[in-house]
Symmetry: none
Subunit: 202 residues, 2 copies
DNA sequence: GAGGCTATCTATAAATC
DNA sequence: TGATTTATAGATAGCCT
């Protein structure tokens, strides 16, 4: 017997709370089912007991219902734990662009390297050749410049070494008699030991 | 007054179906609420009307409830409709690889085109120059081949036209007096109208 | 926990406004 | 549409097994 209307607040007595849970739970699921059948509605109900047990009802595929719910709500809760479809679509689109770019670059590279030019038109070949010639020119110039610099550097070193030799010779009070090691340059001064008058051998 | 118990099957009368939907819907949501409060349970209910309108109740955050549901079920449906974090990580990794490849290709391209060689070593410059020379050789060969083919084709056409002319001349029983249209080749036979003896103008 | 009982409370079908 | 009414079907609190 029901003694007066009950208060809608947590039932403190554990036993009766569990009994009530069991009864009302099945009542709720039954009503959910009836509603879906009577009114041809899409209904889903999810119940977790205090202990964490799951009870549920779904008139159709619950996944569909949840998905529909998510879409209806403008979706955001799924995004919380999982990237949205939209986000991934964006990534994929970006990847397609990148793949295209890679292909483009590879084709370009191939052509610059003289590969797969078998299907190029004369006009295209001419363009490639022009580009390559230009590249070659630039690279050769750069190479020449580097060599030049190198030579310049060596000359500077030579000068430096000469100065050093002169300086050292002045300090020991005699004629220069040797070259700094490491130098392979030919000097215009006789430094070899010899018998006879200097310069007589030229 | 309720006349006898109702059958749990779709109510065909649209009006009474809508009325029943309205009443039972609110009844269901109310009961869902009562259950959650009385028994301290986590309850969520989702109802879509036939027209697609959404009605729902959730004792706590419905997102949490759905998430918990998904986890409880081992889920699957979340993965089905939404990419997993892992999947996205994979995509991103792939993208990083692609970005690196693009950079590599671009640098290579730049070098082949003689750009940004300012910081290359002599050795590297030499390698690039060698490559470019090789490329140039290939491209030029290809170009030469194309020209050759072109010339060959033109020659073949010339022969064909000559044959044709001879054949036609034989059929009309006179000396060749014209060339097939489209040919721009210079012939060694006088075909122009003229006064006087043929060949007298050369 | 699950099921049964029963007195009540609640939901609601149908009609009416 | 929606609100109210009313009679009744259905749900359930409390108690027991």
């Amino acid at each position: 017997m029901v003694r007066g209307k009950i208060q809608i607040k947590k039932i403190e007595n554990t036993t009766s709370r569990q009994v009530t849970f069991s009864k009302r739970r099945s009542g709720l699921l039954k009503k959910a089912h009836e509603l879906s059948v009577l009114c041809d509605a899409q209904v889903a109900a999810i119940i977790f007991s205090q202990k964490g047990r799951l009870y549920d009802f779904a008139s159709s595929d619950i996944q569909k219902t949840i998905k529909r719910y998510a879409e209806y709500k403008g979706e955001y809760f799924v995004a919380e734990s999982h990237p949205t479809e939209q986000y991934v679509q964006g990534l994929k689109k970006e990847m397609v662009t990148m793949v295209e770019k890679i292909e483009m670059l590879e084709v370009h590279n191939q052509k610059l390297m003289g590969k797969s030019v078998a299907f190029c038109s004369l006009k295209e070949l001419q363009e490639i050749a022009t580009q390559i010639e230009k590249s070659l020119h630039i690279v050769r110039s750069r190479k020449a410049k580097l060599y030049e610099d190198e030579v310049e550097k060596l000359k500077a070193k030579e000068r430096e070494l000469k100065d050093e030799r002169v300086r050292l010779s002045g300090r020991v009070g005699e004629e220069p008699s040797g070259m700094p090691s490491g130098s392979k340059e030919k000097e215009d001064v006789e430094t070899d030991l010899s018998i006879g008058f200097p310069k007589s051998r030229s």
